[in-house]
Assembly symmetry: C2
Homo-oligomer: 162 residues x 2
């Protein structure tokens, strides 16, 4: 099934919260407060400094990502994104479709590189996906993430030019 990706609208708020909350609560892949309220989680994901997209399959919103500048000033040519997929929809190509879309959007907006600041090293699925989309590991942060089950694990900085 094909994946449609479009800008998020206000009507997508509930779907976005439904997707991102379980990942935030699990605390295994994002360095975010696990107890973030629904409202604060949505505020984070759709903040004024970023553009938020949703991915649909067969009319259902099953993924979401944001795109922003990773830094201001002299660092504003490097994009940054966050991606989350409905856990129940894993393996259906949604994350990959969003990744490809994000690279295109970033190029279209004039970014010349993309950086992920904090890919949890035990999130093998994500690491492999980003590597397959041309990202390389440019940094390893030793023990920088406290995984709720695995304890202190490394986080990776991943980067690619556009």
């Amino acid at each position: 099934m094909s994946v449609q990706i479009r800008s998020a609208a206000e009507g997508d708020d509930a779907a976005i919260v439904r997707i991102i909350l379980p990942t935030i609560r699990a605390g295994e892949t994002y360095a975010l407060d696990r107890d973030l309220s629904d409202a604060d989680a949505l505020l984070y994901w759709t903040g004024a400094d970023r553009k938020t997209y949703v991915a649909e399959q067969d009319g259902a919103v099953l993924g979401t990502y944001y795109l922003r500048a990773n830094q201001a000033g002299g660092g504003a040519h490097v994009a940054n994104c966050g991606f989350m997929t409905d856990a129940a929809a894993a393996g259906r190509g949604i994350a990959r479709a969003m990744g490809t879309h994000a690279l295109d959007q970033a190029r279209a907006r004039g970014f010349t590189a993309m950086q992920f600041n904090f890919v949890v090293s035990t999130n093998i699925r994500a690491v492999r996906l980003w590597e397959s989309l041309g990202f390389g590991v440019v940094g390893r942060l030793p023990g920088a993430f406290r995984h709720p089950r695995l304890g202190y694990v490394d986080a990776l900085v991943m980067f690619r030019t556009l």
Copy 2:
């Protein structure tokens, strides 16, 4: 001359702005909007998510730094700092004194590591200082900083355990 370091108070606002504005305007070492207003620059440096300190020598405020958690959630055990010194006071040990102070403060607050996310590689003085204080380069972000005179230069991720 010895350097005294203390928590910043409201009365330090003018001194902090006087120190940080020229560095922000120059745009050579921090990935911040060079046109940030005085008020926004101060807001950034003294934000609610960080604790801000000032360094005095002979009664004059000549440096300032902030300390915060680098990430939330599973990344909240790693500290992050920003440091700026009055350009006219360079070479007087103020940055080094602040760095040492920051490591002590971070330890006292329970952080177990410190990370600098974006040390501009051409800021040799800073790179050498952090290396002498036990930081290692754990990542290199290729061309991630557009230096106003030198063009695209690398930025470094520096890290040390506490």
